[in-house]
Assembly symmetry: C2
């Protein structure tokens, strides 16, 4: 079977040469393990941050099979809880087949389209939902600004905030993305942050200031947004993708100064922190989807061997919506 | 009477030459105004930040009489709520006498020592108390780290946290300050952050990590402390004195990255935000003082003309405890 390893740890920008495709034997499973056939691999900016050291999970080292979150089908099981043919999700890796511990995967419903389990009903949708409600505490009538708005989380966060009665403004890296977010995804406005005076554009797009900033990027954009935050505003720290891919880290120079002057709250979170609330969140998300408030958009790259390109492209901002790699068709 | 103006706005470090002493007529009061004789002027690092632009109050401009919070005595009143001889506090300025609006001052009890109204029962004590309880939500057994620990707020914050059952570690700029904080003010440990490997010293002094960081300084120290924060830790953003006096602002490079990984919360506040709780806080502070848990220490400079030196010295870290300028003796 095919398998991809991270051959070298990137020192600057991640490149295709950092990966290597191997032909290896299908893994054998031990007691308590399950052999899964990977169907869809989640491609996330966080994958790059894992190469920088320990985060909320172990660091990825040179020579490791590249880890990923995946949707998969059980092929063989030494765990009585799992049977052949079941759909599962969990920590897997960039391989056609992976041997995992039964305790590390969970059963998933075989919904019409398995890719939805990685987008609206997966980490992206849950992150957007919990981030806005549990960390941002958004209220109807507030202005919510979202960076990486065309990304997997951003595009859902915008639609959820809109459905909850907020004024929603996005930040994205191309005019084309901005146009689509406004025309097709109900964003009230969207700023292409490249080559503009962002502070000036924010004044126009958020005339009453920003109450909640759902931040996926950190860095210089965060520094500028801080100037437009309203008193008692909240900054949902979801990601810092501007800091992941080989750039020298930049700390906003107005931190913590403006937090004091404006009595702001900044809070970091990981979707797993709210695991107990996932059930309610999925119910609410599916209601919003059924009501037409949330439109699903997915960005699927075909073929395991294209996973490096998919990740590198994501770090360059090429995706629109949740990016994933399809290893094989839905069963 | 004597009065001090900020003659020039400092571009780099604040200097005595930025101030000028004037001899002017005693102000006349209009309807609704009160003439007060300033007794004690509060000297705070925030005074310097007012010269940088609008903060939680209007900016101080070149030519302005230097504003300050003061304890004063009513000399003449055109406001029926105030009589001659009453002790008041509020926004005043660096003058022997100041004409203020009656609505801008409040009556204060003529306690044994008026300086206590600027230290434990004033902004310093209330800031320390509300910051720890309302923003930091400290719990017994937690480790609380305090920067500018020998400053007006820090020295009280340390004693309050200790009285509430926390392990208390301070950061201060001299060995002498650290020794006094440990020997006389019940700090469990104190690190002189100058010329040491701060991360290493923090590991020794806070073996279980830091649950609450009461931050008065911002900048590089904040960057290092972030590495020692525990999961779900809280950072009380009270001040950023390292960023006020003419230095190029530095944003911690691990913000917002580490907030996400460690699920930290950073929150800014101003003591006035909790004005409704001042009564309860003062009651609790006086009980802790009576029980011997809080020792009061004040750093009083004599003479209005020495106010510039008092402020410049404070920005250099010369003070131990609440710094103030005595304009005249308690009545």
């Amino acid at each position: 079977m095919k398998q991809l390893i991270l051959k070298t740890l990137p020192k600057a920008k991640l490149s295709k040469d950092d990966f290597e495709v191997l032909e290896v034997d299908k893994p054998k499973i031990e007691s308590g393990e399950v052999l899964i056939r990977n169907i869809l691999l989640s491609i996330d900016a966080a994958n790059r941050s894992w190469m920088q050291g320990r985060t909320y999970r172990d660091a990825v080292r040179a020579g490791d099979v590249m880890p990923t979150y995946a949707i998969a089908e059980v092929v063989e099981s030494n765990d009585s809880q799992f049977n052949q043919g079941q759909i599962v999700s969990g920590e897997s890796n960039w391989s056609e087949f992976t041997a995992v511990k039964g305790s590390a995967i969970i059963k998933r419903p075989n919904v019409g389209s398995l890719s939805n389990l990685l987008s609206i009903y997966g980490i992206a949708g849950l992150t957007a939902y919990h981030g806005l409600t549990k960390v941002g505490h958004i209220k109807p009538g507030e202005t919510v600004l979202i960076s990486a708005a065309a990304g997997s989380v951003g595009i859902l966060a915008g639609q959820i905030a809109k459905a909850m009665g907020c004024l929603v403004v996005g930040l994205a890296g191309t005019d084309e993305k901005c146009k689509r977010l406004k025309d097709e995804f109900r964003f009230d406005d969207c700023i292409n942050y490249k080559n503009v005076d962002l502070l000036k554009e924010l004044k126009k797009a958020c005339p009453d200031g920003v109450d909640v900033y759902f931040d996926n990027v950190g860095g210089q954009i965060l520094e500028i947004v801080l100037f437009r935050m309203n008193m008692k505003g909240r900054i949902v720290c979801c990601g810092a993708v501007s800091q992941y891919d080989g750039t020298t880290p930049i700390g906003p120079r107005n931190l913590p100064g403006l937090l004091i002057v404006k009595r702001l709250k900044m809070e970091g979170f990981i979707v797993m922190d709210y695991a107990k609330e996932h059930g309610n969140a999925i119910k609410h998300l599916s209601e919003m989807n059924a009501a037409g408030d949330i439109k699903i958009t997915e960005d699927i790259t075909e073929g395991l061997e294209n996973a490096p390109d998919a990740l590198i492209g994501l770090l360059n901002g090429d995706n629109f919506g949740k990016r994933m790699v399809r290893v094989t068709v839905d069963p």
